[in-house]
């Protein structure tokens, strides 16, 4: 676990924004870590089962939708995420919502922590002075407020940003149906 632990609500925020980004942006989902780290896409496959083993039962690549569905399924499994978003929360008391949020948070944190290595892009404290040098990486740093003139830009850090420096997606068996986010359960 990182020494800089974000607060409870910001952690929910991270989990949710990551989730939606992966869910609705297929390109992003397929190359999530590659895009964020700027590494070439094939890097992502390094945690895939290596083809050296003879008993290989797992596919070498997966369509980007599959990764999104897998994440959704894991969030449901660990934190009842799909149950949570599928429910109409109008009229649910804040106390009940809070209790459920804890559950979702615990699970989402486990999944996000297990699948991704997430770190701040800007190392300084939020609220502190920040200088953006010429030639900065505009994919990683966004200028907001009164944007005029030429770099270096002087301002304050309002959000330190996040990047996934590593992504480790679980393998999926060839026969698995990724569209099943949670199987129906029948008690015998």
């Amino acid at each position: 676990m990182s020494a800089e632990s974000p607060g409870f609500f910001s952690r929910i925020g991270i989990a949710f924004s990551l989730f939606f980004k992966v869910l609705f942006d297929a390109v992003f989902a397929g190359r999530a870590a590659a895009q964020l780290t700027g590494a070439p896409a094939p890097e992502l496959q390094k945690d895939e089962p290596a083809p050296k083993a003879k008993l290989e039962a797992l596919p070498p690549a997966r369509p980007p939708e599959t990764a999104a569905l897998q994440l959704l399924s894991a969030l449901q499994r660990e934190g009842r995420f799909v149950d949570f978003v599928q429910e109409d929360v109008t009229g649910v008391s804040d106390a009940d919502l809070g209790a459920a949020a804890r559950l979702v948070h615990q699970g989402a944190r486990k999944v996000v922590g297990g699948w991704f290595t997430i770190e701040a892009i800007w190392p300084g404290d939020e609220g502190a002075a920040a200088v953006v040098q010429p030639g900065f990486d505009a994919r990683r740093i966004r200028l907001v407020g009164n944007v005029t003139g030429e770099p270096p830009f002087r301002g304050t850090l309002s959000h330190h940003g996040w990047r996934a420096s590593d992504a480790r997606l679980p393998s999926l068996s060839t026969n698995a149906d990724a569209t099943v986010l949670a199987p129906a359960e029948v008690e015998l």
Binding site: D47, P49, A50, K52, A53, L55, E56, A57, L58, Q70, S73, A74, R77, R80, D83, F84, Q86, E87, V89, V92, D96, L97, G98, A99, A100, R102, L103, Q106, G114, R168, P170, S171, L172, S173, T174, N175, A176, D177, A182, P183, E185
Partner: protein, 616 residues
């Protein structure tokens, strides 16, 4: 293959040391290259099924097996890269899905493996009655082998050129494991294909992990005369060891001087205690919680316990049992765990303030025991007091440690550490001794695996070795000669056959004990051990002993198999055998009947089995 052969194989081939912590609740694996001193010990992430069709590599492999029913899963749902349709599944899904299908889940198999009251080679798990004839139960031995097999296959897949069978494997066992449980663990490892094996006591592994994390700087924290108390509270067991820093020539040496009893008490007991206390509140007016809800309540109580123990500011934490259905807000049950209740149940309940003279409550005699022999007294500090008192040096009221090292997931909590340290410091201060130094370990959930790998490097010549030999002395029962009196059993004396501290690789002969046996006969002895009689040497005979001085273990036995040496007239000559004890390079105790007069150059040997199978 003999143990000596395996050890020789290890030094010839091994490129890695693989440390395996085969825990009651979780397994962990650490790997270190033997040749490169710069590369640190690394944790090996173990691929496992985490949901139907999903394989994820995780640092911990939950020590659970699941026995799937025939039609339960779609084809390929449990497929592992090395097994397309496992009959037994290990790991996270076995734990999580098994919570919903408890009759098919094997848990706590390690506690069963060291339970002498059951047939550990027999298919007895999942424990309890079942009316399902298709359920193929497994033995505690097979469960351990299956978990290790999973680790072996996972490792071999990642290291196809350096399979684990050729590497030096260090497998940890509780310091309090008796010879039978150690033998069974070694047998399971062999069955799993771990050929080059040594066993290591878990508290020692914890200290090796600490030494490894400190590098040479440990010499600044410990010096000659220090006595380190290792307190290891795992999921299911509590283990104490005392390790002394002594001068070894002009170097520092480490010696493990005492080991506690096997206490079946751990973090899981705390979570269960909390869950049962919260159950009424969670249920409210609703239905009785089902098995799955109870399981979730225990998990949730653990989360709340950890949150409250790690932050002093927090006064309460919610405990949630979500609905089983999709309507999350409809039947989700919740309660709150308050700090007051936590303190009362966990801190005061499991770590009560007590005097060093405290004695843990014993189970009442005659109480029928079904299932695991859990500790009768949940007070870990009382067990600790008893351990220190029993291991006092002459003139001391109790053994006085100068430093303490905590191990085990439960003890990641500062509140519990603080309580234990405060109690010990109270005892020490009253006795006029210095307060404890607290040695800070890291990543306590994988420290034992890490320490096991570090020990492998020590054996390869890198670093300081903890000496200690066997942690108990062992005795066989010998009937004292007296005239037969009806209805009166002849008294038995205990003869020391393996003394405390006997080191790996030594062999001793019990002089004067010679038996004439025939091939096909069996030799059977009552068997005892002592944690406190340190001075007894081989052959020392005890005519009587105090009740807590010697503990009787199951009988040991061997059958003399082999060729019958018959004379021309058909008379079978008895085989004269003596008793020998040795500590194998593997780290297990070996007792043998050895033929005294050789046939040619060969003395035949018959191993005395610690775990005698009940004859049906």
């Amino acid at each position: 293959m003999s143990a000596a052969d395996t050890a020789a194989g290890a030094t010839r081939m091994a490129q890695y040391v693989v440390g395996i912590d085969l825990g009651t609740s979780n397994c962990a694996v650490a790997v270190a290259p033997i040749g490169d001193a710069k590369l640190p010990v690394a944790i090996f992430a173990i691929p496992q099924v985490v949901d139907a069709g999903v394989i994820e590599a995780k640092r911990l492999l939950p020590s659970f097996l699941y026995i799937p029913a025939d039609a339960e899963f779609a084809e390929g749902a449990l497929t592992l890269p090395w097994d397309s349709a496992p009959k037994l599944l290990a790991g996270a899904f076995a734990r999580d899905h098994g919570a919903k299908v408890p009759d098919r889940q094997v848990s706590s198999s390690k506690s069963w493996l060291c339970h002498p009251g059951v047939d550990r080679r027999g298919p007895i798990l999942p424990w309890g009655k079942t009316d399902d004839p298709t359920l193929r139960k497994v033995s505690p031995l097979e469960t351990a082998a299956r978990l290790l097999m999973h680790i072996r296959k996972a490792f071999d897949r990642e290291h196809p050129d350096t399979p684990i069978g050729e590497q030096q494997v260090v497998l940890t066992v509780p310091a309090s494991f008796d010879p039978a449980a150690r033998d069974l663990t070694a047998e399971a490892a062999k069955a799993a294909g771990l050929k080059n094996l040594v066993l290591l006591e878990e508290p020692q592994a914890a200290l090796y992990a600490w030494l490894d994390s400190k590098g040479d700087a440990w010499r600044k924290e410990l010096s000659v005369g220090d006595r380190v108390l290792v307190v290891d509270v795992g999921g299911g067991t509590t283990d104490f060891s005392l390790i002394e820093v002594a001068a070894d020539g002009d170097q520092l040496g480490l010696r493990r001087v005492a080991v506690g009893d096997h206490i079946l008490l751990g973090g899981d007991n705390m979570d269960y205690a909390l869950a049962y206390a919260l159950k009424k509140e969670v249920q409210g007016d609703g239905d009785e919680l089902d098995a799955w809800q109870m399981h979730v309540l225990v998990q949730s109580a653990r989360v709340a316990k950890e949150a409250l123990l790690s932050s002093e500011k927090l006064e309460r934490h919610s405990v949630i049992v979500p609905s089983r259905g999709s309507r999350l807000f409809k039947k989700t049950l919740k309660a709150e765990l308050s700090r007051e209740r936590l303190t009362q149940m966990v801190i005061d309940g499991f770590f009560p303030d007590c005097a060093p003279s405290a004695v843990p409550a014993q189970r009442r005699a005659g109480l029928a025991q079904v299932g695991l022999p859990y500790a009768a007294d949940p007070g870990i500090t009382r067990h600790l007091a008893h351990f220190l008192t029993r291991n006092a040096r002459p003139g001391e009221a109790f053994a006085m440690p100068t430093a303490i090292l905590f191990n085990g997931g439960v003890l990641q909590s500062k509140a519990i550490e603080d309580r234990v340290v405060a109690i010990l410091n109270g005892w020490l201060t009253n006795a006029g001794a210095e307060k404890l130094k607290v040695l800070l370990g890291a990543e306590l959930d994988v420290a034992v695996a890490r320490g096991a790998a570090a020990y492998g490097l020590v054996r390869a010549g890198r670093g300081l070795r903890i000496r200690g030999g066997i942690a108990r002395s062992y005795y066989i029962g010998v009937e004292q000669p007296m005239p037969a009196v009806p209805g009166y059993e002849p008294p038995v004396s205990a003869v020391c056959i393996a003394p405390f501290g006997m080191e790996e690789g030594t062999e001793l002969h019990l002089e004067g004990a010679t038996f004439g046996l025939s091939v096909g006969d069996s030799a059977r002895f009552r068997f005892f051990s002592s944690a406190t009689r340190r001075a007894d040497t081989i052959g020392v005979e005890l005519a009587s002993w105090k009740p807590d001085e010697l503990e009787e273990l199951p009988t040991i036995e061997t059958t003399l198999e082999g060729d019958v040496a018959t004379s021309s007239v058909g008379w079978q000559a008895p085989v004269e055998v003596g008793l020998f004890s040795s500590v194998t390079p593997l780290g297990t105790l070996l007792l043998e009947c050895v033929e005294l007069k050789p046939i040619g150059d060969e003395h035949r040997r018959w191993k005395l089995e610690f775990d005698v199978r009940e004859k049906a």
